[in-house]
Amino acid sequence: MIEVDGLVKLYGAVRAVDGLSFRAERGEILGLVGPNGAGKTTTLRCLTGIVPPTAGRVAVEGFDLHRQPIEAKRRLAFVPDEPRLFDYLTARDHLSVTARLYGVADGEERATALLEEFELADRATAFPSELSRGMKQKLMVALALLHRPTVLVLDEPLTGLDPAAMRRMKDRIRRTAAEGAAVILSSHMLHLVEELCRSIVILARGKKLLEGSLAEIRRALPDVEVDADLEEIFIRATEDRNLS
């Protein structure tokens, strides 16, 4: 479970994230959507300890990310939008290093299984420069799953994947949640969010506009058709000045 309470991130005078609060329970997939510059990436970076927040609290399974960072990070995994792997480590090396960092006792077996699952077994000794964008993305997800995190944060996880790989990745995300992890998914692919997420948070200018299931946020907006999809709701919500 991950709990975000009153998160604020200032860049000088700019409030990139402005008092954001939400929580994702174990087994839940929460979608984070918003227009460009809404503060999604900054939020994810604050949630994963990459960027220190100006104010607010992030707790992972009850461990405060600021006060107990080691305990919190042991339970956390992040897949950034751009895979930045180490040029000098092979795919297998990345998994070995990650296994040691998180103390995964069955690291080698699990690494082999993940390489198989993500169709990277025959590329285990390849360096990142020898992998396609999609393969790198798969490797990043494999690295994230290696230590069986209880909170998985994904930023645009389907970028660079072919349709078949997209299908498999969606299944994997569902399965990870079903196995008891809280998943936070940020994406501009609204159909993906609609398909996977039980609850959705819509951000704009660093603030939370709407939160809830698709039906709940649909009801929160006046004059929206009962069968409106997330795209329609998103456009209405982010265009509606009164709500922002």
Binding site: Y11, T48, V51, K73, R84, Y88, D93, V97, L101, T125
Partner: protein, 609 residues
């Protein structure tokens, strides 16, 4: 040069300046800037406090004497060496180092090849000029007129080196484009040209200098005669023709007055114009390779090509076995060592033992000339003392590479201080191991000399008195004890430099090129010089407490009437190193705190992506 291209350059410089000024809004950068200005100001104002520049001091300096022309010849020869050696290597950067943003704009634009190459050449001029300024600060006298000549001279010399580098990069690219037999013919021609140049020069100098050297060895002449003969050989005949361009260029920073400067300037400019024209006329289709290079650079993947050449077997190796459980920091150390080499440490150890055994035992069998072991012991000494310091500063298997992967590192469940410690440890371990090998090589050379002397009675050029006792211990044992004493100091010193370097990187990440490919080439020479001298100052300050401690121990011993002994060298080494380790511990804590507080969003780190 196209006016629009010039405008792009001006705007780019303005953009950098604005970004730099914005950084100064942060107190730490402002404080760093003030300290930096004071540091540079000290070098600039040395002449007013009586100090003289070490190399190019101008009138009244030691270089004004009989060896000044020899110095110019040596510098010209070194310059010729730099220029020519690059053409012998069949590998290296291809094409022009332009950024993807530049290329995306320039390639579709209605510009000629010549204009784009000219743009690439002009683009590096800012950094070269800055490097010339920094170098002149360290090397010059501080007097404005001499300093100006020095800056101009170094600038033009660095420009030649830059043109040479880019010309070679285009040559290498062209080699790939033409038929293999034509490429081979061109390569052979280049090798023949370089070999011919050095053979001709070497023979010409040898012919002229040999008689003077023989007279000096016979005690009938002196070094000044050799210098005069050397000067004569280069100022006339073949040497004059061969070294002329390099003598003109090196004549600029060494000029005593504006008249001499002007005399060297005109032919130097001709050399540069010819070199520039050669680069501009290159037929290499640089566009594709430049784009690839730019993409590699943008994604920080350029070192990937180097690793991609590794065999499947090598890819399975590592410096040591990394098990899935245990201290997580070891994973980071393993990763950082892999950046340098995948060979297991045991292989390095066995290799070193083999070399040491060969150095210690082979002289007894082969009875080589004395200078062989003299050079070997000298190399050992250099490797033990200087190489580790340079390595700990120059190696990039620490935060310098890892800050480019900040997103990943920050999510790792590793304590900040332990993370900082292990990042500092990477270069320090490698540098210390190299230093230990150097010390062992020195001792092995001494042992080899002793064995050779005992078996063949050959006079040894290794500087160890045959039967002398040093502080109560036989010379060989004393040197071994000295080496044992140096090890902890070396470990402390390399850790100290590595810690100071990493601390500087974490404090001012926007000022330091991050990533394995950042900051290479002639253009950042000055930046390196500034950083290197800063680190040496840090080390010198760091060594003071250890020196005081050893001094007090020696004084106490003397006061108590206990004689000093070489057997105490290791103890003195530990005493000297102890404060260094305390300082490293403090710096590591500071680095850990900086790491935990580092906000990439407020640094240029973010903007570079």
């Amino acid at each position: 040069m196209n006016v629009t291209l010039l405008r792009i350059l001006v705007l780019s410089i303005r953009g950098r300046f604005v970004r730099w000024i914005r950084l100064l809004r942060q107190p730490k950068y402002l404080i760093g800037f003030v300290i930096g200005v004071a540091y540079v100001g000290f070098w600039m104002t040395r002449s007013t406090i009586g100090d003289q520049g070490p190399f190019f001091a101008g009138r009244g300096s030691a270089l004004e004497g009989e060896f000044a022309p020899v110095l110019q010849i040596v510098l010209a020869t070194v310059l010729a060496g730099f220029v020519s050696q690059a053409w012998l290597l069949p590998w290296g950067r291809l094409g022009l180092p332009l950024r993807e943003a530049d290329l995306m704009m320039l390639l579709p634009a209605p510009l000629t090849r010549r204009q784009i190459i000219g743009f690439a050449l002009l683009k590096s001029q800012g950094a070269i000029l800055l490097s010339a300024l920094f170098i002149s600060l360290f090397a010059g006298s501080g007097r404005p007129v001499e300093q100006t000549r020095l800056v101009l001279g170094i600038w033009l010399t660095l420009t030649l080196l830059d043109l040479n580098k880019k010309g070679r990069a285009l040559f290498l690219l062209r080699q790939r484009e033409i038929a293999p037999h034509a490429a081979m013919a061109r390569r052979l021609a280049v090798i023949a040209l370089v070999a011919g140049f050095w053979t001709w020069l070497g023979l010409s100098v040898r012919r002229a200098v040999s008689p003077a050297v023989v007279l000096m060895l016979d005690g009938k002449g002196n070094l000044a005669d050799v210098a005069v003969a050397l000067e004569d050989s280069v100022r006339s005949g073949a040497g004059r023709v061969l070294l002329a361009p390099f003598l003109w260029l090196t004549g600029l920073p060494l000029a005593d007055d504006w008249r001499a400067f002007a005399g060297a300037l005109l032919p130097s400019l001709v050399v540069l114009v010819v070199a520039r024209e050669a680069v501009l006329r290159s037929k290499a289709t640089f566009e594709e390779s430049a784009l690839q290079h730019a993409r590699d650079l943008a994604s920080r993947r350029s070192p990937g090509r180097r690793f991609a050449k590794l065999s499947e077997r090598s890819r399975l190796r590592g410096p040591f076995a990394l098990r899935p459980t245990g201290s997580p920091e070891m994973a980071i150390l393993w990763k950082n060592l892999v950046l340098l080499s995948r060979a297991p440490w045991t292989r390095w150890l066995w290799g070193a033992i083999l070399v040491l055994l060969a150095v210690a035992l082979l002289p007894a069998v082969l009875d080589p000339p004395g200078f062989v072991l003299a050079i070997t012991s000298g190399l050992g000494w250099m490797t033990a003392v200087f190489v580790p310091l340079i390595m700990s500063l120059g190696l990039r298997n620490d935060f310098r590479s890892d800050l480019a992967h900040l997103d990943m590192l920050r999510t790792w469940p590793v304590d900040e201080r332990r993370l900082a410690a292990v990042e500092i440890l990477g270069p320090a371990v490698v540098a210390t191991a190299t230093g230990c090998f150097g010390g062992a090589l020195f001792i092995a050379a001494l042992v080899g000399a002793r064995l050779q002397g005992a078996l063949h009675g050959a006079p040894s050029m290794v500087v160890v008195p045959e039967t002398s006792i040093i502080l109560g211990v036989p010379a060989l044992g004393a040197f071994a004890l000295l080496a044992a004493g140096v090890v902890p100091v070396l470990a402390g010193a390399t850790a100290m430099i590595s810690a100071a370097k990493n601390l500087a990187m974490l404090a001012f990440p926007a000022w330091i090129g991050i990533g394995p490919d950042a900051g290479r080439g002639i253009a950042i020479l000055g930046h390196r010089l500034l950083l290197g001298s800063g680190m040496i100052v840090a080390l010198a300050v760091g060594l003071v407490p250890g020196a005081i401690l050893v001094g007090l121990a020696l004084l106490g011993q003397w006061a108590l009437g206990v004689p000093w002994s070489a057997a105490e060298f290791p103890l003195w080494g530990v005493l000297a190193a102890a404060p260094l380790f305390v300082e490293v511990w403090l710096l590591t804590h500071a680095a850990g705190r900086l790491w935990s507080k580092l906000d990439p969003s407020t640094e240029i780190l973010e903007l570079g992506r």
